[in-house]
Amino acid sequence: MTEGTGWAVLVLPLALTAFALLALAADAVVEVRVAHARRSVAAAAADPWREVARLLVGQRRTTVAADGVLWRSGVVTVPLAALLAALVLPLGGFAAADPGVGIVWFNAMEILGWAALWTAGWGPNSPLSLIGGYRFVAQGMCYELPHMFALITAATGAGTLRVGGIVDAQAELWFVVWMPVGFVVYLISAAAMAFWGPFDAPLGRDLSGGVVAELSGVDRLVLLTGRWLLVVVAAGMAVPLFLGGGRGPLLPAWLWTLVKTALVLTFLLWSRRRFPTVRMERFTEVSWLVLLPLTILQALIVALVVLV
């Protein structure tokens, strides 16, 4: 795998944002169809841009006795975590960086989201925001361990923590074929880490927006952009981990990567519409008593296969 030079670091945010905007536009079009709104598809597809413009000119607000430092740093950390995690994301045979500890790096950067969301919820001194922040901590405790075991399973199968090495190890057989549990758990945790889809309780409607309840203007734009970036990055990482990276017939590797990412992203977009928000009081038991043993078993099987 070729490692990118400096310019990749500049291009990466732009490329990810473009991908996120495309997904957003597609989602807006679906929304119009569901809501039977009397609007054209083109108008709906332009919605994301209109929203960006609206937030850019909007006034930034503050609240009584807010903890400004933690609040703003939490908001900024959300997109930052997504971008840092994306550094190890390969596009075809090319990545901004391909360190020997790529998987651990991805995991560590995506966990920055824990701190980010909690401080963003704590900052505005509003009960509903704070509950949103706490909800994400509870969610983190639920998804993180199965998630780690899913990552470890892929790394064990390849015998390396390097993302490029994991892609190379799938030359003959994609990991999704013989690590289905790992893949499914990864998809669940991908939604959970991006507080997305059925795991959007931290930004829940019942909390009037939760963590973003007090955010307006640019602050809101930054956090919500960060969330979309997280979704895209989480979807993108499923490709090198389980879906054989850029492998596929006819098309070039980079295009296959994009196609597969788009497919995973479509699944995540669909699951948000398909399922009601999963409350952690119910999911905790499932996560610890079902998912965790399953992923450990999967890792064990993979380890045995690799050894034998």
Partner: protein, 312 residues
């Protein structure tokens, strides 16, 4: 529609701004970031104005208030024992009267520890001022001697149920289904063709019934020995059954005698003041919102006997 003042550009007050809502609306207006606009819509202008309007309903309480010392004019949290026996900070947060997907006008004063509601108290219902007449509109003609059909009654009951279901699904974060319920409700209000409505409604009911996640998430929620029947699951299920039953009446032109109005299979409305505290105490915030949304739309006991009100 914005979920909170921070996301809003426009505050629209639809209908009369009664005494009860003046102060909350003012508070919301103060929280809306610039650029912003305030619109008041009276009953007959709705169609003209709402094309460009996003209606803002907001959560009520923003900051903790309650006991404790007051440094710098701020109120600090006090402490109390939680359900694990630890003495932890409590916040006093009023919910309502304006909160998205919340029965308008209902005010519940909660004492929160983390996101667990330790104590809940409901404001007396006689302060409720607006919105009640809306649900009686099929009976307006009765005053003028016009005929009322059972199709009309079914239609308004469906609208009422779809509104309640939409609220329940929205609170549960099942936005797709909530939007579909809302769309159906609006089409019904506009007088859409009944075959079309029936098809869509049955599809919606089937989809909800088949969702295992939904029943898994709502089972054993909001059960109470004395005051109400079942949990959120069974209440939702009862609504679905009722919709399925009355949707066949949509085309009926049979005239309904006035004294027969309102009787039927609807569940017995309960006094929120008595029931809600019992149901809410000890629940987590998300569950509490679901429980509130799973009860019949807000009805005060003094409605008993009025058309469209309650069984006798």
């Amino acid at each position: 529609m914005a979920l909170n003042p921070a996301d809003a550009d426009l505050v629209v007050v639809a209908g009369p701004l009664t005494h009860r809502f003046t102060e909350p609306v003012e508070r919301i207006w103060r929280q809306v970031p610039r650029p912003r606009a305030f619109v008041r819509v009276r009953e007959h202008e709705v169609g003209d104005r709402l094309d460009t309007a996003s209606v803002v309903l907001s959560r009520g309480g923003e900051h903790e208030d309650g006991g404790g010392e007051v440094p710098n004019g701020l109120v600090m949290a006090d402490r109390g024992t939680d359900r694990d026996g630890l003495a932890l900070d409590r916040l006093h947060v009023p919910l309502g009267p304006l909160l998205p997907n919340w029965p308008a006008g209902l005010v519940v004063h909660t004492t929160l520890q983390g996101d667990v509601i330790q104590h809940a108290q409901v404001d007396p219902p006689d302060e409720v001022g607006v919105g009640e007449d809306f649900w009686r509109w099929p009976w307006w003609p009765a005053g003028t001697g016009e005929e009322i059909t059972s199709g009309g009654v079914a239609r308004i009951r469906l609208v009422e149920l779809l509104d309640a279901l939409g609220r329940l699904f929205a609170v549960a974060g099942w936005l797709d289904v909530a939007v579909r319920a809302g769309v159906l409700r609006d089409f019904l209000l506009e007088g859409a063709e009944s075959a079309w409505v029936r098809r869509r409604l049955l599809r919606l009911i089937t989809r909800v019934r088949r969702s295992r996640t939904w029943w898994w998430l709502t089972a054993e929620l909001g059960e109470h020995r004395h005051s109400v029947v079942g949990d959120v699951s069974t209440r939702c299920s009862a609504w679905l059954n009722e919709m399925e039953r009355i949707v066949v009446d949509l085309d009926s032109t049979e005239s309904v005698p006035l004294d027969g109005l309102g009787s039927g299979d609807r569940s017995v409305p309960v006094s929120p003041q008595r029931v809600l505290p019992e149901l809410l105490e000890g629940t987590e915030f998300a569950s509490a919102r679901l429980i509130v949304a799973s009860l019949e739309p807000w009805r005060s006991p003094d409605e008993v006997g009025s058309p469209g009100g309650v069984d006798d």
